[in-house]
């Protein structure tokens, strides 16, 4: 992750562009949508241009769109059906363009800044320290705890005769609920123990209690 010179400015620009794209009128109340489409086009091109300057940028763009569009369609389709008959297609297209452009911009912002850049940006924008400190601590153990959860699931899968971590609520509800409870409770205790060690280490290095 290349460091961004002014993370506060970059974050503000990214979030602002995302909000702008997400809040432009989509013709739900009969407003003209041509200006919105022009703006979405420009913003999407800008997001893609930023993304293309990075390795894996095209993949990031494809990933965020593939992830977002089914959800967007699920929310947009009923709203488009409720629009007057002649405007259904245009409302659907506008809602999808709005959601798609916003998610592209958000994805570009995240890809440009990365987790450390986002934390630095929030600090620069004077978001309350109580919130940003917790976010930084979260990002520090996010990957580790995710790996831990995956390892526990793999172990359960290996022990289970059918090769699944849980039998399923439909077939064996008691076993599933019990097994799930033990796994997640153990994960929680590991997370808390890890927090204690990290906190001790932080104080040992001279951090304020």
């Amino acid at each position: 992750m290349r460091e961004v010179g002014r993370p506060g400015v970059a974050l503000l620009a990214g979030v602002g562009a995302t909000a702008l794209a997400g809040l432009l009128p989509a013709g739900l109340r009969g407003e003209p949508v041509l200006p919105s489409f022009c703006a979405w086009g420009l913003l999407a091109v800008a997001a893609l241009a930023f993304l293309s300057r990075r390795a894996g940028g095209a993949r990031t763009a494809a990933r965020v769109l593939l992830f977002a569009l089914p959800v967007a369609f699920l929310l947009a389709a009923p709203a488009a059906l409720l629009a007057p008959p002649g405007r259904r297609a245009i409302v659907l297209a506008a809602l999808l363009a709005r959601a798609g452009t916003a998610v592209l911009l958000a994805g570009a912002t995240a890809a440009l800044l990365g987790p450390p850049g986002i934390v630095a940006g929030l600090r620069a924008l004077r978001v309350p320290a109580g919130l940003v400190d917790v976010m930084e601590a979260t990002l520090a153990s996010l990957v580790l705890l995710g790996d831990e959860a995956r390892a526990m699931l793999r172990a359960r899968r290996a022990r289970h005769p059918a090769g699944r971590p849980f039998a399923g609520l439909a077939g064996a509800p008691v076993d599933t609920v019990r097994g799930y409870g033990r796994l997640v409770a153990a994960l929680l205790l590991r997370a808390l123990a890890r927090a204690e060690r990290r906190e001790l280490a932080r104080r040992a290095r001279g951090g304020a209690p």
Binding site: A21, L131, L142, L192
Partner: protein, 315 residues
């Protein structure tokens, strides 16, 4: 569910951001009077745990699976005020880094999943156990609380989307409530499953007691009251009028929903909608009552082996 960008309008986005910020600030101000300090490392670890726990999917029926949201669980561990902070951080990271949920919709998502989950979940748990140290009552309350919190969150999602002019509230509300009655039962079962193990393995964790300063308690109980009132209104709305827009009428009177009503085409316009809505209202009521009963039974079943008030855990 996470509302993405592009589905809330500017007034709704601004309103929900403000409300979420105010609730977070209020919750934290009341939680600050707790005796034991919670370092950011601990809250962050808890937020990372919620992330990891949300990756663990449980097969529900062939083809569908679900996962924990975890707000009620977190609120029971660290109190409702800090619980909201943890959930807000989880949702903010999901929005900023993973594009799961929108940035303009972050306020709405924090209210639906964070605030509703923490305040209603914790509040119901504390009301059911009435401040006693009975792990059994605490667990039963948490299970019921997790269920009701899911329904309150779903009602709020419906409210934001209809205030944004996407659908009429009366149309989306039954749909959202019926599906979330099922999702809520799952959340209740998973919350109970984790909590019962925690109460057995580590009865010393704060989840076993209600140690919260009075201010935080009242804050959470007020939030719970508001949430449950909203839920009752959502369930009662279809029966109150032929067009099930009680909440919408309230919203219009308050001046936020000055949008023309969506006109349905064709034969639906005259008679279809009220009749449909009445059926939908009935389905919603049945789902709500069944779900609540199921959550209560689950709470009792899961907590059967736990000690009641005044009993001790034998190890």
């Amino acid at each position: 569910m996470h509302i993405p960008d592009g589905f809330v309008t500017a007034p709704v986005a601004a309103g929900t951001w403000l409300a979420a910020g105010a609730l977070l600030a209020g919750g934290l101000a009341t939680a600050r009077r707790r005796e034991e300090p919670a370092p950011a490392t601990m809250l962050g670890s808890l937020a990372a745990f919620i992330f990891a726990a949300q990756m663990i999917n449980v097969p529900v029926a062939p083809g569908t699976s679900g996962h924990l949201v975890g707000a009620t669980l977190v609120a029971l561990l660290v109190g409702p005020g800090r619980g909201m902070l943890v959930m807000a951080v989880v949702l903010a990271i999901q929005a900023l880094l993973f594009q799961d949920g929108g940035i303009t919709a972050l306020g709405a998502n924090v209210l639906d999943m964070g605030a509703a989950g923490c305040l209603v979940g914790w509040g119901v748990a504390s009301l059911v156990s009435r401040g006693s140290d009975s792990p059994r009552a605490r667990l039963a309350g948490a299970v019921l609380g997790a269920f009701l919190a899911t329904l309150v969150g779903a009602t709020l999602v419906a409210l934001w989307l209809s205030l944004s002019g996407l659908y009429p509230l009366g149309g989306i509300l039954p749909l959202v409530l019926v599906t979330h009655a099922a999702i809520g039962v799952l959340e209740a079962a998973l919350t109970g499953a984790v909590l019962v193990v925690l109460l057995r393995w580590r009865p010393d964790l704060p989840a076993a007691g209600t140690a919260s300063p009075a201010g935080e308690r009242w804050f959470a109980l007020a939030g719970t009251l508001l949430g449950v009132a909203l839920l009752l209104a959502a369930f009662a709305a279809p029966f109150a009028s032929s067009l099930p827009d009680g909440l919408e009428a309230v919203a219009e009177r308050l001046g936020f929903a000055a949008r023309e009503r969506v006109v349905l085409p064709g034969p639906l316009a005259d008679y279809g909608v009220p009749a449909l809505a009445r059926h939908a209202g009935l389905a919603t009521a049945v789902a709500g009552v069944l779900g609540t009963a199921l959550a209560a039974v689950l709470g009792w079943l899961i907590g059967r082996g736990l000690p009641g008030a005044g009993e001790r855990i034998h190890r």
